[in-house]
C-alpha cells in the first residue's frame, strides 16, 4: 500500500508539480511576461500575457508537415525528448526547502542534463535536412560552447563556497546547497558570490537562446534556423520547451543564489519562487532584449569567454581563498 502511495506521489511530482503542469503554466506565463515587458520597454502595446498559451494551442491544431527530405523518426521524436528532459531537470531543482527528487543528481549532472534539450533541437534540425537548420545548429552549438565555460566556473565557485562552509571541502549536491542557504542565508549576500551571480544572470539569455544571443534562431536572417522546417504541434512543443527552459534557468538561479528566502510553507514558497523567476526574467532576459541588438556568433563566443568568464573566475578565485 505504501509503495502504491509512494509511486502515486512520485507520479504526481512528474505530472503536476514541479513537473509538467507546473512547468507548462509557469514557463508560458514567464514567456508572456517577458514579451509584455519588452513591448512596454519599447513603447509598444504588446501581446496579452496569455498570448503564449493561445499560440501553443493554435499550433497544436495546425497540420504537421514532415518534409520529404527529413529523417522522419528523429524529426518527430526530438521535440518530445527535449521537453521531457527539461521537465526532469526541473524535478531536481529545489524550491527552497522542497526538492521533488533529491539525491539523484548533483549540479555537474544538471550541467550535462541541460545539454540534452539543446541536443534534441540540434538533432531535430539536422534531421529536417534544411540548409537553414545546418547554419542554425552550427550557431547553436557554438552558443552552447560559449556558455559552458562561464557556467562551469559559476557552478564550481558555488560548490567550493558551500563546501567550505559545511566543512566537506566541496559540495555538489543541490539540495545541500539549498539547505545550507535555508540555515545561513542566501549565497548572494556573500561578497565573493556576487560576480558569479552576475555572470549567471548574463548566462541565462545565452542558454535559453534569447535576444541578443539568438544568432542560432535569427528569424530575419536564417528563418529560425533549426525550426525552419517545423510546423504544427512539434513546433508548439519546441516553443514550450523554450519557455520551460527560461523557467529552469531562472529557478536554478534562485536555487543557487537566493535560496535563503523560503518560508517553509510550500504554496507560499512556490509563489515566491515564481515571482523571483519573473523578476530575474525581467532583468536578465527582457531588459537585455529591449536594449541590445543581436550579436554575431563569434561575438557571442568572445563575450562569454572573456567578460562573463572573467566575472565567474573572480568569484571562483575569491571562493578558493575563502573570502
Amino acid at each position: 500500500m505504501t509503495i502504491v502511495i509512494g509511486a502515486l506521489q512520485y507520479l504526481g511530482y512528474v505530472l503536476i508539480f514541479p513537473g509538467f503542469l507546473f512547468c507548462f503554466l509557469a514557463g508560458m506565463l514567464l514567456c508572456g511576461i517577458d514579451r509584455k515587458l519588452v513591448a512596454k520597454m519599447q513603447k509598444r502595446v504588446g501581446p496579452p500575457v496569455l498570448q503564449p498559451f493561445y499560440d501553443f494551442f493554435k499550433l497544436c491544431g495546425k497540420e504537421t508537415i514532415v518534409p520529404a527530405a527529413a529523417e522522419r523518426i528523429t524529426f518527430m521524436l526530438a521535440p518530445l525528448v527535449g521537453l521531457a528532459a527539461l521537465v526532469v531537470i526541473q524535478l531536481f531543482i529545489p524550491v527552497f526547502g522542497f526538492t521533488a527528487f533529491s539525491g539523484m543528481a548533483d549540479i555537474i549532472v544538471i550541467l550535462y542534463l541541460l545539454l540534452i534539450p539543446a541536443l534534441a533541437i540540434i538533432l531535430g534540425g539536422a534531421a529536417s535536412g534544411s540548409p537553414y537548420a545546418g547554419v542554425g545548429l552550427s550557431r547553436e552549438m557554438v552558443t552552447i560552447i560559449s556558455c559552458e565555460l562561464p557556467l562551469v566556473l559559476v557552478l564550481l565557485a558555488v560548490a567550493k563556497t558551500v563546501g567550505d562552509e559545511m566543512g566537506t571541502g566541496l559540495c555538489f549536491s543541490l539540495s545541500s546547497i539549498a539547505q545550507y542557504q535555508m540555515l545561513n542565508g542566501s549565497l548572494i549576500t556573500k561578497i565573493s558570490m556576487v560576480p558569479a551571480a552576475v555572470a549567471l544572470l548574463l548566462i541565462i539569455p545565452g542558454e535559453t537562446g534569447n535576444h541578443p544571443f539568438d544568432a542560432a534562431e535569427a528569424e530575419t536572417e536564417i528563418c529560425e534556423g533549426m525550426l525552419a522546417e517545423y510546423s504544427g504541434a512539434p513546433l508548439g512543443v519546441f516553443k514550450l520547451s523554450h519557455a520551460v527552459k527560461m523557467l529552469t534557468l531562472t529557478s536554478l538561479f534562485v536555487a543557487l543564489f537566493l535560496g535563503g528566502l523560503g518560508t517553509g510553507i510550500l504554496p507560499l514558497d512556490v509563489l515566491l519562487m515564481f515571482l523571483l523567476c519573473a523578476v530575474i526574467t525581467a532583468v536578465a532576459i527582457s531588459f537585455v532584449h529591449a536594449v541590445t541588438a543581436r550579436l554575431r556568433i563569434e561575438q557571442i563566443f568572445k563575450y562569454y569567454w572573456t567578460v562573463v568568464s572573467a566575472l565567474a573566475l573572480i568569484s571562483l578565485v575569491l571562493a578558493w581563498y575563502g573570502l
Binding site: 525528448v81 526532469v88 541536443l119 540548409p131 557554438v142 560552447i145 555538489f172 504541434a233
Partner: protein, 638 residues
C-alpha cells in the same frame, strides 16, 4: 586424469590466452587459403582467448588472487628471477579483459567488413599477431618480455596500417608510425638495459623491490626512457599525429584495436612504471607530470579534432583526447582518481570501438569517410545511425551513457584533489576537462550532421544498410556502453576498484612472486566516496515516465495529425524551404561548421595546423625533445 586436471588449472590460463592468439595467427598463415577455415580459426582463437580471460575474472578480480606463473616452472634461484614470468594481478586482468572484449568484437566485425579486400589471410595473421602482442604485454611479469610484445604489436600495427596500401596516405602513415614507434621501442629497450645493469634482474616484481631503494642517475634516466617509450604506445602528446595518421588509413577493425587496446597498453605500461617500478606517484611532481601531459593531450587533441574533416582522423584525435582523461585521472594518485581513470579506460574502449566500427560501416557502404562528401545517411542506414548516436552520446558525456559516468568521476576526482591539496592547478584541470567534454560534443554534432543527417548528396542513393554481422558487432559495443553507463556502481565495485586496489598494493604484487615486499611504504587506503550524487537508473525511469506521458498526450492530441501517403510526397509543401530559391543540394560541409568558435581561436588553430606539418623529421624531433624534457624532469625531481 591428474595431468588433465593440472593442464586445465586456471594457473595456466594466462599463457593459454596469449598462446591461442599466436597459434591462431600461425595456423592461419599455413592453412588460411580457404575462407571458411580461416574464419573458423580466427573466431576460435579469439573466442578461446576471451573464454580463458573470463575464467580468470573469478579468482583474480573477485578474490584478489595474484597468479604468478613461471614459464617451464623455472622459479627464482638464489634470490634472483632467472625464468620468464607471467604475473596476473587485478590490474593486468582488467586490461586483459578490455583487450579480449575489443578483440572479440572487432574480430566478429572483420569477417564481413574485410570481405571486399584481397589478402585476407595476411590480414588475419597480422590481426591475431597484434592481439596476441597486446595480450602478452598486459599479462607479462617481465620487463624484457614486455618489450618484445611491444615490438610485436608495433610491427603488426604498422603492417596493418599499410594493409590497404592504395588508400591515400596509408603507406605514409605506416612509415611515420614505424619510425617514431621504433624510437619509442628503442627507448624502452635502453631503459630496460640500464635497469638490468643496475639490478641484474628483468622480473617486474623484483625490479619493484630493488629499484625504489636505489634511485640514482642511471635509474632516473631509465625512468625517462621507459616513460617516453610507453608514451609513444599510448600516443599521448607529443605523439598524437601518428595516431591520427594511422587511424585514418587503417581498416576500421584495426582502428578499434589500435585505439581501444593498443593505447591502453601504453597507459598500462605507464601505470606499471610509475606506481610499481619506481613507486614515485607519492611525489607531487610526478603527479604533475602525468596530469600535465594528460591535460595537454585532452585539450590539444580535442581542438585538433574540431579542425578535421575526415571521419576516422577526427575519431583518432578524440581517442587521444580521451586517453588524456585516463592519464589525468590516473595521475591524481587517489583511490577515486585511479578508479575513475580505469573506468574511463573501459568506456573509451567501448564507445570508441563503436564509433570506429560505425565509421567503418559508412566506409564499407559509401567508399569514403570525407565529411564534406557525405550526408543524409540516416534514411539509408538507420541501424548504423542509432548505434553511432549511442557512441557519440557516450563519448560526449551525455547522461545516462557510460562516458558521462566516468567523466563525472574524473571531475570529482580532480576537484577533490584540488580541494585536498589546496593546489589551484588541479582546479584548472577540472575546468579543462569540462570544456574538453563540450568540445567533444560539438565535434560529434558535426559528424552526425555531416554524415547521418542533413541532405543526401548525389551518388549515394544506392547506399544500403550494412550486413547483420557488422551490425551485431556494433550492437555488442552499444549494449555494453549503455550497461556500463546505467550501473556505474557495479562497474566500480567489480572491475575498477579491485584494479585500483592492486595499483595501491605494490607489496602484495612483489610478494606474490616470492620476493621481499616489506620495503614498500604503506599503501594509500583504497576506499572512496563520491562527492556528488548520480543515480542513472532512477533518472532514466523518471525520464521514461516523463517521455511516455508527453508521447501519450502528443499522440492523443494528434501530434502527427497528417499521415503522409507515398503519392503526396511529391507535393510542393513537402519540399524544403529555400526562401523562394530553386531547390538544390546545399548540405553544409563538415569542414568549418563551427567557424564562430574557430574564428576567435584562429591564431591557435593556424599555429597548430602549421605545427602538424606531416614531415616525419618534425615528429621525430618532438619525440627527442620530449625525451630530453622528461629526462631533465626526472633527473631533477625523482
Amino acid at each position: 586424469m591428474n595431468f588433465l586436471g593440472n593442464v586445465l588449472s586456471y594457473q595456466h590460463f594466462p599463457i593459454y590466452a596469449i598462446m591461442v592468439l599466436f597459434l591462431g595467427s600461425f595456423l592461419i598463415a599455413v592453412f588460411g587459403e580457404n575462407r571458411i577455415a580461416r574464419n573458423i580459426l580466427a573466431l576460435l582463437s579469439i573466442t578461446a582467448s576471451l573464454g580463458f580471460i573470463l575464467k580468470l575474472v573469478g579468482p583474480v578480480l573477485m578474490d584478489g588472487e595474484i597468479i604468478a606463473y613461471w614459464m617451464g616452472a623455472r622459479e627464482p634461484a638464489g634470490g634472483y628471477a632467472i625464468g620468464i614470468a607471467l604475473e596476473v594481478d587485478a590490474l593486468s586482468l582488467f586490461f586483459a579483459l578490455l583487450v579480449s572484449i575489443a578483440v572479440f568484437v572487432s574480430g566478429v566485425y572483420s569477417i564481413q567488413y574485410m570481405n571486399r579486400d584481397d589478402n585476407e589471410k595476411e590480414y588475419y595473421t597480422l590481426y591475431l599477431l597484434l592481439c596476441g602482442g597486446v595480450m602478452g604485454m598486459v599479462l607479462s611479469g617481465d620487463l624484457f618480455n614486455m618489450f618484445i610484445m611491444v615490438e610485436i604489436l608495433t610491427f603488426a600495427a604498422v603492417a596493418l596500417t599499410a594493409f590497404r596500401n592504395t588508400v591515400r596516405g596509408a603507406v605514409e602513415a605506416a612509415f611515420k608510425y614505424l619510425v617514431v614507434g621504433c624510437m619509442g621501442s628503442t627507448c624502452i629497450l635502453v631503459g630496460t638495459a640500464i635497469l638490468y645493469a643496475q639490478t641484474h634482474t628483468l622480473n617486474f616484481a623484483q625490479l619493484s623491490q630493488l629499484v625504489p631503494g636505489d634511485v640514482n642517475t642511471a635509474t632516473k634516466v631509465a625512468f625517462a626512457l621507459l616513460f617516453v617509450g610507453f608514451g609513444t604506445k599510448a600516443f599521448i602528446v607529443p605523439f598524437h599525429p601518428l595516431a591520427a595518421d594511422a587511424h585514418g588509413a587503417a581498416p576500421a577493425s584495426i582502428s578499434v584495436i589500435i585505439s581501444g587496446v593498443l593505447t591502453k597498453s601504453g597507459i598500462y605500461g605507464i601505470i606499471r612504471i610509475t606506481y610499481f617500478l619506481f613507486q614515485s606517484m607519492g611525489l607531487g611532481t610526478m603527479q604533475f607530470l602525468l596530469v600535465f601531459i594528460g591535460s595537454l593531450s585532452m585539450f590539444i587533441c580535442v581542438t585538433m579534432a574540431l579542425a578535421q574533416h575526415d571521419f576516422k582522423r577526427l575519431l583518432a584525435f578524440h581517442s587521444i583526447s580521451q586517453i588524456g582523461y585516463v592519464l589525468t585521472a590516473v595521475g591524481l594518485c587517489t583511490a577515486l582518481g585511479v578508479s575513475a581513470g580505469l573506468y574511463h579506460a573501459i568506456n573509451h574502449t567501448l564507445f570508441k570501438g563503436l564509433l570506429f566500427l560505425a565509421a567503418g560501416a559508412v566506409l564499407h557502404e559509401t567508399g569514403t569517410t570525407d565529411l564534406n562528401k557525405l550526408g543524409g545517411l540516416a534514411k539509408k542506414m538507420p541501424y548504423t545511425t542509432v548505434l553511432f548516436l549511442v557512441g557519440a552520446f557516450s563519448i560526449s558525456g551525455v547522461p545516462p551513457f557510460n562516458g558521462f559516468a566516468s567523466k563525472w568521476m574524473v571531475y570529482q576526482a580532480t576537484y577533490q584533489k584540488a580541494v585536498e591539496s589546496g593546489n589551484i592547478g588541479f582546479l584548472l584541470v577540472t575546468i579543462i576537462a569540462l570544456v574538453t567534454s563540450v568540445l567533444t560534443l560539438a565535434s560529434f554534432v558535426k559528424v552526425s550532421h555531416s554524415v547521418f543527417f542533413g541532405q543526401l548528396p548525389e551518388g549515394l542513393e544506392h547506399v544500403k544498410e550494412v550486413s547483420f554481422g557488422m551490425r551485431f558487432a556494433m550492437a555488442i559495443f552499444a549494449v555494453l556502453c549503455v550497461v556500463t553507463g546505467l550501473f556505474p556502481n557495479l562497474v566500480t565495485s567489480y572491475l575498477t576498484e579491485p584494479a585500483a586496489r592492486a595499483v595501491f598494493n605494490v607489496a602484495h604484487y612483489i610478494e606474490a612472486m616470492g620476493f621481499d615486499g616489506s620495503a614498500v611504504t604503506e599503501p594509500v587506503a583504497v576506499s572512496f566516496s563520491h562527492v556528488g550524487t548520480w543515480d542513472p537508473v532512477s533518472w532514466l525511469l523518471v525520464l521514461c515516465i516523463a517521455l511516455l506521458s508527453v508521447t501519450i498526450v502528443a499522440v492523443g492530441s494528434k501530434y502527427d495529425n497528417v499521415s503522409r501517403s507515398k503519392a503526396a510526397a511529391t507535393e510542393s509543401k513537402y519540399e524544403l524551404f529555400y526562401g523562394g530559391e530553386a531547390q538544390e543540394l546545399s548540405q553544409l560541409g563538415g569542414d568549418d561548421l563551427f567557424w564562430g568558435f574557430k574564428h576567435n581561436w584562429r591564431g591557435y588553430f593556424n599555429y597548430m595546423h602549421r605545427l602538424h606539418s606531416g614531415i616525419v623529421n618534425d615528429y621525430a624531433l618532438w619525440a627527442v625533445v620530449d625525451l630530453a624534457l622528461v629526462m631533465l624532469f626526472s633527473l631533477i625531481v625523482l
